[in-house]
Amino acid sequence: MALSIWQSMQQKGYSRRDFLQFCTAAAVMAGLDRSAGAQVASVFEKKEKPAVVWMHFQECTCCSESFIRASHPIVVDALLDVMSLNYTETLMAASGFQAEKSLNDTIQNNKGKYIVLVEGAVPTGADGVYCMIGGKTAESILQTVAKDAAAVVAWGSCASNGCVQAAKPNPTGATPIHKLINKPVINVPGCPPIADVMMAVVTHLLVLGQIPALDSLGRPKEFYGRRVHDTCYRRPNYDAGLFVESFDDENARKGYCLYKMGCRGPVTYNACSVTKWNEGTSYPIQSGHGCIGCSEEGFWDNGPFYQHLASFPGFGIESTADTIGIDVGVATLAGVAAHAVVTNIRKQKVIAEVHAEEHTQVPAGK
């Protein structure tokens, strides 16, 4: 049986007064007026710890790994207090049939109330055999768990846009989950997403009891509303035209902008430059490497990562809009020059005629 938040606080020895204080704090956090505290208290009192299942499909588990790096709250507190995480292949005690039972029971007992967190893409090639769990395809499992879910979250770039396995030529037909289920999906892209962002999305759902405001791609605006570039601390160097020209050069040590090293910050929506990684320790750019755009759809196919513009497919390595364009420009110039030469040869007569028209008049009044 799941306990309400109040019940679980009672068991930890908190008094009702503590609880009201906690609710008021939560209400203030939620942007409510202090007097609204009482109203929130009743909501929390009734609320059981929500049932959550975490599915694993075509993934590298770095989303799970990232999640356990959360610092506020730490994952222990989230697992013990915020939610009842009944299924996650990475951490759960049960295996095999017992694991399947945990999943089935959660679905049966919480119809319409449980939250589904999905890590990984779903392969649709060859009838789904490229990812099977317990003899069932990932695709069929996804359909089963999503059907009665209260909300579905797509963790990471895999679940929200396909990520690495969906890069060309996508040998297994890896597909992001929003393309497979008829439910709104909260997309939390990133490879992986930032731990505290993941935790914040979970608490936004479970503690605030709300779906965060989403953009047109289903991403929480809270974290994906701005480009890495918009809040990057190296931005003044960008505007001043101060760029790193080579790794570990003098400019690199001064922390100049990594744009010319291929930084994808200007085309990438993520919270890295504000929220940062690992409890605010750093983010890729701070450590001297450009952003590779890991939260953007199709970012693997926007490489090579060390040149500002993506290669155009079919034009060879390092072929960007510029290399192609310069070729076109040069060809144009050459064509024009050739045309001019040919014209002077072939149209001698016409040119002579024009030059001979000495006695021209302009009739007045026309």
């Binding site: 003044p236 035209g241 760029f243 953007e296």
Partner: protein, 245 residues
């Protein structure tokens, strides 16, 4: 229209009589009205600036590395120039579209499409005379010839594409209504990285257009000798009077 044109195909000898025997007579025709000329030069200047600034945005030059970030803003200014030109250029272009429905026949919208048989025939002739040069004399239109008109149409399409991709990119740095109208383009094109790539690639279309276009302006002026270049400044072209007039 045909009346004001010399049919070089059928009567070259009559039109270009032997030297000094029959002086050629010219008539002044007011082809490019002021709005077209103003449009043209605003367009030319902003487009050149957009190409230069855009190229620098894509591949910044190494410059001013001696100064600190707080002392300068040159790259910001390049971007600023790009954005200012972008706005001027777009509104200028919009005005030209409006003018396409009010102008004289030379600059009218239908001059940009080979809608009539005559126009299509003219395209063939222009191709033979100016590209293959298998014919000495091409048709000499008063406005743009049918090929030029149609090429401008594609150029206008490129203007539109560049405007859309440009404003889509700009929408992430602006809250004003015009760029905001283009936000949806970004996901449609698969993210900002690919929008940028296309926006950048189109730069080279314009570069090529400008090279060919300016060359052809000189070419026609040189071959035809009737003030093609000055027409886009003053508006007037010269047209040969028909001999039998």
């Amino acid at each position: 229209m045909t009346a004001s044109r010399i049919n070089a195909r059928t009567a070259p000898a009559a039109v270009f009589p032997p030297l000094a025997e029959h002086p050629v007579e010219y008539r002044r025709v007011y082809v490019w009205e002021l709005p077209v000329r103003v449009y043209h030069w605003i367009n030319a200047v902003t487009l050149v600036l957009l190409c230069i600034s855009g190229y620098i945005i894509g591949a910044p030059i190494r410059a001013f590395y001696a100064a600190e970030a707080y002392q300068q803003y040159w790259f910001g200014w390049v971007r600023f120039i790009h954005f200012v030109c972008a706005f001027v250029y777009v509104f200028n272009f919009a005005a030209r579209i409006y003018w396409g429905f009010n102008s004289n026949k030379y600059a009218r919208w239908n001059a940009f499409f080979p809608l009539t048989r005559a126009q299509r025939q003219e395209m063939v002739d222009v191709f033979k005379a100016d590209v293959l040069q298998t014919k000495l004399h091409g048709p000499i239109s008063t406005g743009h010839n049918a090929v030029a008109g149609f090429v401008y149409f594609f150029t206008f399409l490129a203007f539109v594409a560049q405007t859309i991709t440009g404003f889509a990119l700009y929408s992430s740095m602006s809250n004003s209504w015009l760029p905001r109208m283009f936000t949806w383009i970004v996901p449609l094109m698969g993210g900002e990285a690919s929008v940028r790539s296309w926006h950048h690639l189109l730069l080279w279309f314009f570069v090529s257009f400008i090279i060919i276009h300016i060359y052809l302006a000189f070419y026609h002026d040189y071959i035809e000798g009737r003030g093609t270049i000055s027409s886009i400044v003053g508006g007037w072209k010269f047209e040969r009077e028909k001999q039998d007039d």
